[in-house]
Amino acid sequence: MDHEVSSAIERRRSGLARVRAVTSLTLAAGLVLTGAFAALAARSTHVVRHVVQRAAPTHRAHASPSAGAVVAPPPPLVSIASPSAQASPPPAPTQAPAPAPSAATTPPVAVSGGS
């Protein structure tokens, strides 16, 4: 009777040990896979960033003027649309907001007034 009980307990212990081993292996495999995916994702992001960073100068090189051509300068950074204009859909090209004046940081060089 005692022997049978001991055997049953031993079988149960060995069964639990197998379950633990399988669980550990599964967890380890999961961690390895997660790490691999993370590394892959990081590498992909790096590649995308790299492409984006390199794309700009390539595009600008294509957009640069040919000899003798006249190309309008890019819009000034001080260009500001009104809050309502910014909230509405982009205006048609013919109604694009004009460049707004900015607060002056230097003394005036001219006067705009009635003539």
Partner: protein
């Protein structure tokens, strides 16, 4: 360091400011040449100008030169963009009001008997100008290009100077300012005032522009007495006399000085509807009322709206 030269021309003050001081002398000479050509082509006060000869033809066709043709097309485009609020066809009405010579001579005359005439508001639509420069005006219509020719000249001179003399440049002709080329750091600082003859350190806000143009129309300058009361030079094409307006001055920034001038003049004529009209067109503006009330539109720096 900028370099500046100013001189009197076309009945107002011409100012050229260059970012490269070595370019000042040739830039000023270019501006003088441009303004001399403009005066001979477009002045209403010279009997020998092309415009005076065209006005005298009274509906008969005649050839005009390239510059006058360009100025007429610019004036018609201003009329189109303002729905006729700024029209080149008020020469006869200005003359009837006594503005038939330079402003200094009008002011010094001391008085005038003004008999207003009802204008034909759509006369500008009947101007015919073909590609060869053959111009036909409606009968009894006389052109006055003062509202737009000066702004056009500022745009043209600024572009030409920047291109030919390799410098950033600001041109100011009366209230009309145009810039071209590379601006100085922070942009070109311009004071806005009732009168273009105001001092650089006088009253009025100071703003900076880096491209395009800035124009100010004011009813505080160019006023003269008549039998119909004091008149000013911003005429309403619907009445044929000085615009009755709630604004003392309107300043507008635009992609060109010509557009800015047309819009600021239209805003004076429109009166209370002007802020919404400017907002619809995306034009930054500062409107100052007769009672000093300020309205700023489309990104005009609020702190400077005084």
């Amino acid at each position: 360091v900028n370099a500046t030269e100013s001189f009197e021309a076309i009945g107002t003050t011409a100012v050229v400011v260059v970012a490269r001081p070595a370019a000042l002398r040739p830039a000023a000479e270019t501006l003088r040449v441009e303004l001399d050509r403009l005066d001979r082509a477009c002045s209403r006060f010279r009997v020998d100008s092309e415009l005076s000869r065209a006005n005298a033809r009274n509906g008969r066709a005649g050839a005009v030169g390239t510059l006058l043709a360009t100025a007429i097309r610019a004036a018609v485009s201003a009329a189109e963009s303002t729905d006729g609020l700024v029209t080149p066809t008020l020469g006869r009405h200005l003359r009837a009001a006594g503005y038939d010579r330079t402003y200094r001579a009008v002011r010094d005359r001391g008085g005038w008997t003004f008999v207003p005439e009802a204008p034909h508001v759509d006369a500008w639509r009947e101007i015919r100008l073909d590609e060869s420069g053959l111009l036909t005006l409606p009968a009894a219509v006389e052109l006055d290009l003062g509202a737009t020719a000066k702004a056009l000249a500022a745009d043209r001179a600024a572009r030409r100077i920047a291109s030919e003399h390799d410098t950033g440049v600001l041109i100011a002709l009366g209230g009309d300012v145009a810039v071209a080329g590379d601006p100085p750091p922070g942009g070109w600082a311009v004071r806005v005032a009732d009168d273009h003859r105001g001092q650089l350190d006088g009253p009025g806000p100071v703003v900076a522009i880096s491209s395009g143009g800035l124009a100010t129309s004011s009813v505080a300058a160019r006023r003269w007495p008549t039998s119909e009361g004091e008149q000013h030079h911003v005429f309403d094409p619907r009445t044929g006399r000085s615009a009755e307006t709630c604004w003392r001055r309107v300043s507008v920034a635009a992609r060109t000085c010509l557009r800015a001038n047309a819009a600021s003049t239209a805003a004076i004529v429109l009166g209370r509807k002007a802020p919404a009209w400017l907002e619809e067109r995306g034009l930054p503006a500062l409107l100052v009322g007769a009672d000093d009330t300020c309205v700023h539109v489309c990104g005009w720096p609020a702190a400077e709206a005084r």
